[in-house]
Symmetry: C2
Subunit: 333 residues, 2 copies
């Protein structure tokens, strides 16, 4: 996941608008990743947390709270919670995917070992729960513990569904909510809840995060096959080589004839990939308009994100969030 | 960890006394380990949860609440929470230790894979947090989220301290609290809190769980070197071959002369073990009275557990808990 690396401009403006709050979040993160007894914990955590991620998720919490004139202080804890959940997930993801690089640096499982990544990830999960208890707000606890369960469930589902051609768009959406959207929507929703926003605004914040996360993930899928127009920053075909059933492929499989189905079954399910297969896959995606259809889905989710914001009061940060939703899909627009 | 397998008799009596409550806990566990979307989750979980563990930890929560005449219903949720945290920990432990057997059956990481164990463990952690939010009691949330952090911190500490001769008894206790005692003491403490017990009783329940857990772990260490008297059910020397710095070894290292230190450094730190080294280790443990000293520590912790119970009102379950503390150390008494 490299959500943080792409949508630079609106994120930079959000960063500026939330600089003081983000400073407080960073201080809290540094404080809570310390461990008197086990120095391995801050070592591993710092490697990941200080690797220059854009902190998109905690920023969503801060943005939601600030937009609703919440005076603080608990949005800081909730934002740090969100970042800890995210970091724990990354540590475990890299073990599960046997990744060697993240954000251009060697992964923790490579620098230390899988054991450290598993256990430090567990520590960060536990820390995130301590952090989310601090505000004493049961509703935000429910939202964040539910999001954690959705994330973990999505990851397990991906494990079993990733290379199974029976995976349809419904399952794809569940996986994407787990991988990306559940934490986005929880991040925005808790910002609204802690600010005491009325129910329709809380719901709108959830919808915004959900739609933004899904749009982002579909764009990521598209760029992996070269994008609808041009590729930026991703190696074309990585998902194909890793046999991932992403949205364009799911759409093409749904329209496949017998021979095409046999092709997808061979390259994705059996993993038997040969010279020229990526080109054949691209031809099939194009033949069935799968890229174009996935692109339309991404744009529709981005539009849904922007529409959701209309239920919220006018605010400069609301405008930045709207721009962010546009920016996320601008790479395939 | 095989805490559940040894202290049969008092546990059986507790089991009988808490049969109805335990039935409700088991039903809740089955309900919460279901996953509509990811059938891998209940498969892996059932393999472990239904493997016939004695459910000692949830029983401690139920015992504490029942002893204090708590009418329910939230002790059921808290007990299920405790079991989920324990199960998640076991799944991750088996990945970290590369274990192949648990409770006489192949481990989940062997039957499925490490990925499933990591991600299903995460799911159970998340579920445990959902469960602990349900009673709406912030104090039990704090206790259980703190225990989770202590457990994870202890595991990381063990990773780095396990083969380091600088590990002293203070660090050992931190590791043991993480491995065993933190969940025991949280289990008993939340039972008291949810029952609305006065502060001295809550503290006594914490102390009981803490002391019971530590006594248990020291006994386990002793049995691995043949026990103070006789060995039951453990292979002598497993910890030695795995180069674990357990309490008897820590005590012997503290009294070692230069040549002995070189021996421990070779077999534990460097892992260079030869024919006759286990016998030499046993000789050194005996020479410095390390087994006897560790045995005395175990008995002292068991006595501390029994003493703690005196702050609680007379109840048949209190007697069973006292017998349990005695039984745990009876193998080395």
């Amino acid at each position: 996941m490299t959500v943080q690396d792409h949508p630079r401009k609106p994120l930079d403006r959000l960063s500026d608008a939330l600089a003081d709050e983000m400073e407080a979040v960073n201080a809290l993160i540094r404080e809570k990743m310390a461990s008197e007894h086990a120095p391995r914990i801050p070592e591993v955590t710092a490697h990941l947390i200080e690797a220059g991620g854009k902190r998109l998720r905690p920023m969503l919490t801060l943005a939601a709270a600030k937009m609703l004139d919440y005076p603080g202080p608990w949005h800081i804890h909730l934002a740090a919670t969100v970042e800890f959940i995210h970091t724990a997930t990354l540590l475990h993801d890299d073990v599960v995917d046997e990744s060697r690089q993240r954000r251009g640096r060697p992964t923790a499982n490579l620098l230390w070992d899988n054991k450290s990544s598993v256990l430090v990830g567990d520590y960060l999960f536990a820390r995130s729960f301590q952090l989310m208890v601090a505000p004493g707000n049961l509703r935000t606890l429910e939202i964040l513990s539910n999001a954690s369960a959705t994330i973990a469930e999505g990851e397990v589902l991906q494990l079993t569904a990733a290379q199974d051609l029976a995976t349809d768009e419904r399952i794809y959406l569940q996986v994407v909510r787990g991988k990306t959207a559940a934490l986005f929507s929880a991040a925005t929703e808790v910002g609204g809840v802690i600010a005491g926003a009325p129910e329709p605004q809380v719901r709108a914040l959830f919808d915004y995060g959900d739609a933004l996360g899904i749009a982002f993930q579909i764009v990521d899928d598209l760029l992996d096959y070269g994008g609808a127009s041009e590729a930026i920053g991703k190696n074309v075909g990585d998902d194909f080589r890793e046999r991932k059933l992403t949205l364009p492929v799911i759409k093409a499989v749904a329209k496949a004839d017998g021979a095409e189905r046999a092709f997808w079954s061979r390259v994705i399910e059996a993993g038997d990939q040969r010279e020229g297969d990526l080109e054949e896959a691209l031809r099939l995606l194009s033949r069935h308009g799968a890229m174009e259809a996935a692109r339309k889905d991404a744009l529709a989710h981005a539009a849904r994100a922007r529409t959701a914001l209309e239920a919220l009061p006018p605010h400069p940060i609301r405008d930045m969030l709207r721009d962010l939703a546009e920016f996320v899909v601008s790479r395939v627009a």
